[in-house]
Amino acid sequence: MSKEQQFLHLLQQHRNILYKVSRMYMDTAQDQEDLVQEITFQLWKSYCAFEGKSEFSTWMYRVALNTALTYFKKEKRKVDQISLTGAIDKSEDDHHSAVAEERLDYFYKAVQDLTKVEKALIFLFLEGHSHREIALNLGISEGNARVKLNRTKEKLQNIIKKNGYEF
């Protein structure tokens, strides 16, 4: 297996990270696709330096977030509100799943009102990172990470309340 194939295989296994980061940072399908492409490019570019000392996913989190934080979406693009999830056909029988999906949609919509750093905090928190790991990833102190995360969670709750959706 060539290095490129090996890389694409690993990426395929961890594509949920690409999906989550792109949905956190971009609100339209086209912008999400562009961000996925940009992260993929940056991952491939630095893949040679990845020595396997850490988990592939750990490495991927860092590159993906660093790319998202310095990425700017194209201007003057025709707004297409359909996100990557828009393509999913929801079965009527699967009511529970539909409610869960809707809840997640509201969450992603509310997240769009957060700053780039706040999005990173929430992302790492939901991925199960500890305050220490969040601090290490972002380059801030552990105390600062805790304070920032609490403030961001509060802000997110207020946005969701303001948008008229409570869960």
Binding site: N16, K20, Q37, A49, R62, T70, V117, L126, L156
Partner: protein, 208 residues
Amino acid sequence: MNFDEIKKQWDQQAGDLVQVRPASLQKTQSILETIRKNFKRELIYTSIALIFLLTIPFYEDFHEVIVIVYYLIILQVVLITISHFKNIHRITRIDRNPYILNSKENLQQVYYELKYTIELQRRMIFFMAPLSTMIYFILIGRENAMQWFSNYYHFTDTLDKNPWFFVWNLLGLATFLAFVMYRSSVQIEKRYGTPLTEIKSVLEDIEE
């Protein structure tokens, strides 16, 4: 909002809709890659412009002294341009690895690389201002260029006989310089200004 509920659903996201394409390994839109692309484009345009400037004395009827002065100016332009492109090239050669750096360090590096590029571009405008003045005299003045130089050389005489010469000439020069500098500044701002402001804002957000 219950974050535990959200987390449960968050973990269930499979990302099946994400298409990992081999073509994605070649394409990029990042600001540092844009600098690289712009660098190549600027290098081509500048080379074409310099070739054009070098040929002007062949089909314009310049005084021989003016031709020498003209080529000396062009030589300066070439030397400054080489130095400028060498500096930009140095930035584009920096091999960044977003894995090694944490987010704050990565942002700081992108910010300072971008800021350095902008400063280099701005400095280039100011370097070019005196040279633009000479080019104004030679290209706008054309067959009168020698007379214009002479008028400035015999300043008091010209002031007595034709004071309006200075008014119109300096007004023309000021307009020419203002246009060149304004256009260049707008171009720099358009290319790098907005990303720099946005990165600065993210950096402030992470630092506070």
